[in-house]
């Protein structure tokens, strides 16, 4: 992870958060935080509201109750473009690139908020981190493979050297090796460089391996949270997410 891409992290806190669509809460009563220099992860079954929760933090889904704070700024229901300005980089699970735009143009949009003269340098820095993208700068993002596409999606948010990185299932549909590399090299590395990472991950075991703190979401609420070590010893957690010690029917 190249050093230019990271900034000192900011403290991300959500308290008493409810959020959803059309005034209906999908997640409610959520208290989570992510600290600088750490990875906080959220795991839970499909449909438990993980994506909705992340979207409400970055302004895409409406917050119905509670508060979101980044550093000293209260950003509850702030527009996504304003949240981006505060140094929050968000990578959605799907629709994570601009398919008809070339790889270079995707990165340029990633650096939209940068002063014009800094864009080139930032692209160079991103390409240092993801050298595979170098040879495909003129290719349309829609024509990339799954792994390349995810790298581009990561590269796009790194253009602004975000202080907080919010990632929604970045390893979905990646081959195991690529997934491991992305998690352990890049995402963990980003936190090690001092930034804040909040991660939704479906591979629970892999998430625990790189996290400092993990939240378990179920039915729209936090049902469990703790340090990875403690969770690994929690029978309830083991049963539902780690496949159980001895599966019983």
């Amino acid at each position: 992870m190249s050093a230019e891409l990271s900034k000192p992290g900011q403290h991300l806190v959500a308290t008493g958060l409810s959020a959803g669509y059309d005034g209906r809460a999908i997640v409610s009563g959520i208290d989570i935080e992510a600290l600088p220099g750490t990875v906080a992860s959220i795991v839970g079954p499909n449909g438990s509201g993980k994506s909705t929760l992340l979207k409400s933090l970055v302004g895409v889904v409406k917050v119905l109750e509670g508060q979101v704070k980044i550093g000293d700024n209260v950003v509850t229901n702030t527009a996504p473009e304003e949240i981006a300005k505060l140094g929050i980089g968000y990578v959605p699970q799907i629709d994570d690139v601009f398919p008809p735009l070339s790889v270079r143009e995707n990165l340029e949009i990633g650096g939209y908020l940068l002063p014009r003269r800094d864009v080139e340098a930032s692209i160079e820095a991103v390409l240092e981190s993801f050298p595979r993208l170098k040879s495909m700068l003129t290719r349309k993002a829609g024509k990339l493979s799954g792994g390349e596409r995810k790298m581009l999606a990561m590269g796009r948010v790194l253009m602004l050297s975000p202080s907080v990185l919010v990632l929604d299932e970045p390893t979905a549909n990646l081959a195991p090796l690529v997934a491991t590399q992305l998690l352990e090299e890049y995402i963990r590395g980003f936190a090690d460089a001092g930034s804040t990472v909040l991660l939704v991950e479906q591979r629970a075991k892999a998430a625990l391996r790189i996290s400092n703190w993990t939240y378990v979401l179920g039915g729209g609420r936090i049902v469990l949270s703790g340090a990875p070590k403690d969770l690994e010893e929690n029978p309830l957690f083991v049963e539902s997410f780690l496949g159980g010690a001895a599966p019983t029917k």
Binding site: I26, N46, K143, N173, G219, G243
Partner: protein, 612 residues
């Protein structure tokens, strides 16, 4: 003076009848079936022209030959009117391909709009066909040789006949829309892809709607031309359709009385009010301002009262008093508390019409080399699977592994790029999705897919196959023909509803339910489609875990009763508890198949996809 008013009154009667009939027909297409026929005026014009040239003498021999037109059969009434209705129905057929199921509704609509614009130009420019821009004139009125059409008595009778026919149209349409067939049309309007997946033949339904509406529009044109005795391209500019749309929006789409009210308030009142405005220097000023007013009416109504003055009314099928119905939208909070009523007492073998055959676990559904490519990117590649009868097979894999795409190809929602699908010994690779559903291969959707403006009970009943009232002809035969069967169907749906504990929501609009309740409605609806093989796309997503396990128990029971289920699911605990065997999909290919216990022993599966 009094006679002048009387003549004026007859004009209003005829125009009122003609406008009402047109609005009823367009409302049937747009408000009930969701077919946005922006070319509606074509049909009215075709009827007027057809009635004219069928009743007029041959062009060369008549009126010194000052006008040119084809036919000229000199037919006596009522043959020109009947002919007009037939022509109106027939010219609907070429437009059926535009409203086919794969085209966005607004794109189909502009296609019809442009057709109206262009046909008007063509008729205007090609004089030998229908006398060009001047139009046909001196069209004979019915019985004019025996009775003076200018007489007051004649005109009152003409107005009376027009009104009687309009009333007939009203009752005919009501008979159609309040039947099981009408329910299918409204289901198509609310969500056509889902209606298709439940076995509704969209193309046939839309063709039927275009033909019947077209015939009625044509009849209205025939009545008009018999009264005013001339018809020219100026009378049927494409914008006339917009006036009728304005009428329906004002009156209330999806409500027959609303259509009549709209016809009286918009086209009729607009024509008539301007008669009382004193003439001004600029002759186009008043008509121009009329058009402006129509435009404003559309925009203001869609903004302030989008459902019109008389909104579509709700159908209370359950027999409960409207006051007892839960109309408030439910919240997602309550989902944890949903109890599955007395579901354990349901006899699925009976309810799902599964017959008595025992489970033999033969291969009932299989694929060979199934592949799907979107724009050069392969999403599903060379998938070969076998689903055994009577088993609850699971399909897992990470997001984007191609599970939903595979399921869509099995159900026919998406065509396969290559490979074959075999169901019950038949190659169904090229069978359309509604036919697969009719053959017992029924799917559900991952995203909410309820018919929003149908009640919960209507959602369920609409899925029941082989209803005798669920065809145009069946609907015409009336309630006496399909009523008792429909009553039985409603009772069967209520039984299921009670089993799943949602009885109090029977008459609630499905769009007002909570996420978990909508899931249940979708599962119940799929069951009532009497599937032999049920394809479930993440049925437990967003469902409270307690409820998910209750649903899983019932699915197991159904399989024991002879049904086959393929379930795409994300949650391992559900797979553990209910599914055997389980297919693991990754990056568009089958990674492994086996019981969960076996899969947990396979390191590549475990490492990569089960526990990460």
């Amino acid at each position: 003076m009094l006679t002048a008013y009387a003549f004026y009154l007859t004009t209003i009667l005829v125009y009122g009848a003609v406008d009402s009939m047109a609005c009823l027909a367009l409302n049937y297409q747009f408000g009930f079936a969701g077919v946005s026929n922006f070319g509606f005026i074509i049909f009215q014009a075709a009827g007027a022209y057809a009635a004219a040239i069928l009743s007029m003498p041959r062009a060369a021999t008549s009126n010194g030959g000052f006008q040119q037109y084809v036919l000229g059969w000199n037919l006596p009434w009522p043959l020109p009117w009947i002919g007009a209705a037939i022509v109106g129905g027939l010219i609907a057929l070429p437009f059926v391909f535009l409203v086919g199921k794969r085209l966005r509704g607004d794109f189909a609509a502009v296609g019809l709009l442009v057709s109206a614009v262009l046909l008007n130009e063509l008729v205007k420019d090609y004089v030998p066909f229908l006398n060009g821009a001047a139009g046909v004139s001196i069209v004979p009125a019915p019985f004019q040789s025996k009775w003076n059409p200018q007489g007051l008595g004649y005109q009152f009778v003409y107005g009376g006949v027009a009104i009687v026919i309009t009333i007939g149209v009203y009752y005919l349409l009501r008979r159609v829309t309040e039947s099981p067939y009408g329910r299918s049309l409204r289901a198509m309007r609310d969500n056509d892809i889902v209606a298709d997946s439940l076995g509704k033949n969209l193309r046939r339904q839309r063709a039927g709607v275009l033909v019947l509406g077209g015939a009625m529009a044509a009849l209205s044109g025939a009545i008009l031309v018999g009264f005013i005795s001339l018809w020219a391209p100026g009378a049927w500019g494409y914008a006339e359709t917009i006036v009728l749309f304005a009428a329906i929006i004002v009156g209330g789409a999806g409500n027959h009385k609303g259509a009549i009210l709209g016809a009286i308030l918009v086209p009729l009142a607009f024509e008539e009010i301007t008669r009382f405005i004193p003439p001004v220097a600029n002759p186009t000023l008043i008509p121009a301002l009329q058009w402006v007013a129509i435009g404003l009416l559309i925009i203001l109504f869609l903004w302030f009262r989008p459902n019109g003055i008389l909104p579509e009314r709700r159908r209370f099928l359950s027999g409960a008093a409207p006051a007892d119905v839960v109309s408030e939208p439910a919240t997602n909070e309550g989902d944890a508390l949903i109890k599955l009523g007395n579901v354990d007492q349901l006899n699925f073998r009976e309810l799902l019409r599964l017959g008595d055959t025992a489970n033999d676990h033969r291969v009932i559904l299989s694929t060979k080399g199934l592949t799907k490519t979107f724009n050069g990117v392969t999403v599903v590649s060379d998938v070969s699977i076998e689903i055994q009868q009577g088993r609850l097979t699971g399909m897992i894999g990470p997001n984007g592994a191609g599970k939903s795409t595979t399921l869509a190809m099995l159900a026919g929602t998406l065509p396969a790029s290559s490979g074959t699908v075999t169901y019950d010994g038949q190659d169904i690779t090229n069978l359309s999705s509604f036919k697969r559903a009719q053959a017992g291969l029924v799917r559900t959707f991952q995203l909410a897919s309820e018919f929003k403006k149908l009640t919960v009970l209507e959602n369920l009943v609409s899925a029941i196959p082989k209803q005798s009232g669920d065809s145009f002809v069946g609907s015409l035969r009336g309630k006496r023909y399909w009523g008792s069967e429909d009553k039985a169907n409603i009772e069967r749906a209520q039984e299921v509803l009670e089993g799943f504990g949602l009885t109090q929501y029977a008459d609630t609009y499905a769009g007002g339910l909570s996420g978990g309740q909508r899931r249940l409605v979708e599962i119940m609806r799929a069951l009532l489609a009497e599937p032999k093989v049920l394809l479930l796309d993440e049925p437990m997503a967003g469902v409270h875990p307690n409820l998910a396990h209750k649903i899983g128990d019932q699915l197991t029971k159904m399989c024991e009763s002879g049904m086959t289920i393929l379930m795409v699911e994300h949650e391992l605990s559900i797979m553990d508890a209910f599914c055997d065997p389980v297919i693991v999909l990754a990056e568009g290919t089958v990674l492994a198949t086996g019981t969960m216990a076996e899969l947990r022993k396979r390191p590549e599966v475990v490492e990569a996809y089960l526990v990460g």
